[in-house]
Each structure stands twice: as structure tokens, then as C-alpha cells.
């Protein structure tokens, strides 16, 4: 019974590692490595969009 449980435990753990643990590790590495530059890009594009909107509004007013 204990052997069967151990076999199931190893099998399920292996499956869980492939389906959940490994992708989670990849995602966390991606966030750590690329997160700051992605956030910077997002802020830059958001600011650029804001500037465009402002200048369009100013042009309309004029």
C-alpha cells in the first residue's frame, strides 16, 4: 500500500512539476529579468500617448 502510494505520489509530483512548477519558474524568471524593461517601455509609450493626446487637444483648441 505504501509502495503504491509512493508510486502515485512520484507520478503526480512529476506531472505537477511539468504542468505547474516549471512554467511558474519560467514566468518568475521572465518577470525578474524582463519586468523592469517592460515596465519602462510601458511608461514611455503611455507618456508618448499622453503627449500626443495633449498636442492634439491643443491643436484643436487653437
Amino acid at each position: 500500500m505504501l509502495t503504491a502510494y509512493l508510486a502515485v505520489l512520484l507520478l503526480v509530483s512529476d506531472l505537477f512539476e511539468r504542468l505547474v512548477d516549471r512554467p511558474a519558474l519560467r514566468l518568475s524568471r521572465k518577470v525578474r529579468r524582463e519586468g523592469p524593461s517592460l515596465a519602462r517601455d510601458l511608461v514611455v509609450s503611455w507618456r508618448a500617448a499622453g503627449r500626443t493626446e495633449l498636442s492634439t487637444a491643443a491643436a484643436r483648441k487653437a
Partner: protein, 365 residues
């Protein structure tokens, strides 16, 4: 060297440390098997922390009682001491996090990445446990009366709703410091806080010597605060081992045997608090002033020695780099998260059947 390769991002994992983590995860699984089905082998024939368990002492002398005494009260306990294995996890985390985060660009993103790394697998394991609870598969409460120890009776007695399970999966496991969904999750709050401590030092202090001083200051702060010092000191100890370049040092076979033997001897300190007359009593007495149970410091010291040996001894490195250990290391986090709910359902179910009820003296060891 592997540590340097990890540092440079060329190596994915440190295989010998993975192997050690895998073996430690198996010890945790085995310790929960004992605590659930043969608690006398873990808590001792007379659990000093739980007078209710004293009834074991009334059982006649014999192989069951002798075995329980042998496993729970001698250094052999190291083979099933899940709490000691958890200290090994903490020291390993300190080492690996210090190695992989030598230079931190953004503390916020590093912390967020760590949160995701821990929460996604833990959350998935909690949801899986919720499914087992929801389908009525948890049979552990059925055997609690037969086993007769309070620790077994703690799990899956009260119904848990999905909102509660969802909360536990994303935040609850950190907020309360423990959940009643899975006993292993108490370590996650410590993992997250310990990781943040290592990240903070790595982010704010550069240079080996200055960083060592910063870790010494952090250790002093942890001791001064007195909030679970042994656990957070384990993270600091792991990071210090990295800063001392332990992975690049080598020692002889005799020194390694002495180091490993002492580490395992300390890791074999029993679950119950040592008393002056016990084998571990004289070791524990000077540690009683640090605001925490002395045995925790014995396990801490033992785990530092064991991890240290796995770093500096070539034969020990080779052993933990063997394929079975590496395999266990690869699945260690999953094994750690899943063994208890699977045991409480798959293994407890046949044991709760009337025909195979655990006999009172033999099955309790």
C-alpha cells in the same frame, strides 16, 4: 564551477543542491506519514508537549514501544525529522537566492517574481486539495480516533468553502503563517520573508566583505527581534555560505565525515524539548536564551553543517548529484506540496476501512 555558472546565468540548477533538496523533501513526506499513522515514532512514546499522548506509555513494553523509542528518541530520528529537513530547505534557499540574485536591478520586480514563483505552485496545490475536500476524498479524519494523537485530528475536520480556499491560494498562506488546508504551507510565509531579506541585502549592498557585514547585521537584528530567529537565520546562513564561496572550497574526507556526522547528529535532536538528562540536553541548555525552543537551534546548526558539507565535500556532492537524487530534486517542490493531501486521501482511505483498522499497539509503532 556550477555556482559561478548559475551566477552568470549559464546553469539552470545546482545539481548537488537539488539532490539534497530532493532527499529532504522525501524526509518531509516520510515524517508526515509517521505523524499521521505512527505518531509515537515521531512525537515519542510519551509526548511531553501533549499530555494526551501519555497513554502510549501505558502500553506494555515490546517491539512497538521499543521501536518508537529508538526512532523518536535517538539520533536515528534524523532520518524522519521533517522539521530538520525544512531547515535544510531554508539554508538552501538562502544560498541559491544569494547566488542567483548577485545583482538586483529592481527590488520590486525581484520580489514580485519570488511571489509568483511560490504562489503559483502553492495556489495550484491548494486548489487541488480543495477538490479532494469537496469530493469527500479526505479520509484522514476517519482514522484520527484510531490513531489517537491530537496532531492527526487537526486536519480536514471542518468544511472549507471555495471563497476561503481561493483566499488561501493567493494570500492566506502568507498572511496567517499557516493554513489548515496543508500543513507544509506554514513554510511559505517564512520563505517569502526570508527571500525578501536576502534580496534587500543583495540590492542595497555590493561587494563580498560589505555584504558579509550586512548579513552579520541582519543576523543580529533577527536575534534582537526574537521573531522565529532560527528560521530566518537559516536563510542568512545560506547566503553567508555563498558569500564565503563555500561552493568553490574543498575539504578532505575526514573533515567532511566529521562535519556531516555532526550535522546529522544535531538534526537527530528529537521533536520533544530536550531535558538535562537527555543526550541533547547539555547541547540545548546554552541555547535556551534566544527566545525560541532550543531544539530549533540544534536543527539550524545541523542544517548549516549538512548544506555546508554538500558544498565542500566532493564525495557528498557526487552522491547528491546521482540521477535518483537529481530526479527527486527536480520534483521536490511538487512532492513537498502534494504529499500531504494525497496521503490524507489515497493512503488514509484504505487505512480507515474497518477491516484494516490500525491495531492499537503495533501500528502505533
Amino acid at each position: 564551477m556550477a555556482d559561478q555558472r548559475l551566477l552568470e546565468g549559464k546553469a539552470d540548477r545546482l545539481h548537488h543542491l537539488d539532490g539534497l533538496r530532493g532527499v529532504a523533501a522525501l524526509v518531509v513526506a516520510f515524517s508526515h506519514f509517521l505523524t499521521c499513522f505512527y505518531p509515537a515514532c515521531y512525537f515519542g512514546p510519551v509526548d511531553r508537549a501533549s499530555p494526551a499522548w501519555a497513554h502510549f506509555a501505558t502500553l506494555p513494553q515490546g517491539s512497538a514501544r521499543d521501536l518508537a523509542t529508538l526512532v523518536s528518541s535517538t539520533p536515528l530520528f534524523v532520518a524522519v525529522n521533517g522539521s530538520f529537513a525544512v531547515y535544510i530547505f531554508f539554508v538552501l534557499s538562502g544560498y541559491v537566492l544569494a547566488a542567483a540574485n548577485r545583482r538586483i536591478g529592481s527590488l520590486a520586480f525581484t520580489a514580485a517574481a519570488r511571489y509568483l514563483r511560490l504562489t503559483l505552485p502553492c495556489g495550484a496545490a491548494i486548489l487541488l486539495t480543495g477538490l479532494l475536500i469537496g469530493t469527500g476524498a479526505m479520509a484522514l479524519p476517519d482514522i484520527a480516533g484510531t490513531v489517537g494523537h491530537g496532531w492527526v485530528a487537526k486536519w480536514y475536520q471542518a468544511p472549507l468553502g471555495w471563497p476561503r480556499i481561493g483566499y488561501e491560494a493567493v494570500a492566506g498562506l502568507y498572511v496567517g503563517g499557516a493554513t489548515n488546508i496543508n500543513p507544509v504551507l506554514w513554510t511559505m510565509q517564512r520563505e517569502l520573508i526570508g527571500s525578501l531579506m536576502i534580496f534587500s541585502v543583495a540590492w542595497s549592498v555590493s561587494g563580498g566583505r560589505r555584504r558579509l557585514l550586512a548579513y552579520a547585521a541582519l543576523a543580529a537584528l533577527i536575534l534582537a527581534c526574537g521573531l522565529e530567529p532560527s528560521r530566518y537565520l537559516a536563510f542568512v546562513a545560506g547566503a553567508v555560505l555563498f558569500e564565503l564561496k563555500a561552493g568553490e572550497q574543498r575539504i578532505g574526507a575526514l573533515a567532511a565525515a566529521l562535519m556531516l556526522g555532526t550535522g546529522l547528529l544535531l538534526g537527530g535532536a528529537p521533536f520533544f524539548a530536550p531535558e538535562p538528562g537527555d543526550l541533547y540536553g547539555p547541547l540545548a541548555a546554552p541555547l535556551a536564551h534566544f527566545g525560541e525552543d532550543a531544539r530549533l537551534f540544534l536543527w539550524l546548526a545541523g542544517s548549516i553543517l549538512v548544506v555546508g558539507t554538500a558544498l565542500v565535500s566532493a564525495p557528498v556532492r557526487s552522491f547528491f548529484s546521482l540521477a535518483p537524487c537529481r530526479y527527486l530534486g527536480r520534483i521536490s517542490f511538487s512532492l513537498y506540496l502534494l504529499h500531504f493531501p494525497l496521503m490524507a486521501s489515497l493512503l488514509a482511505r484504505p487505512m480507515s476501512a474497518p477491516a484494516s483498522t490500525i491495531p492499537s499497539s503495533s501500528a502505533r509503532c
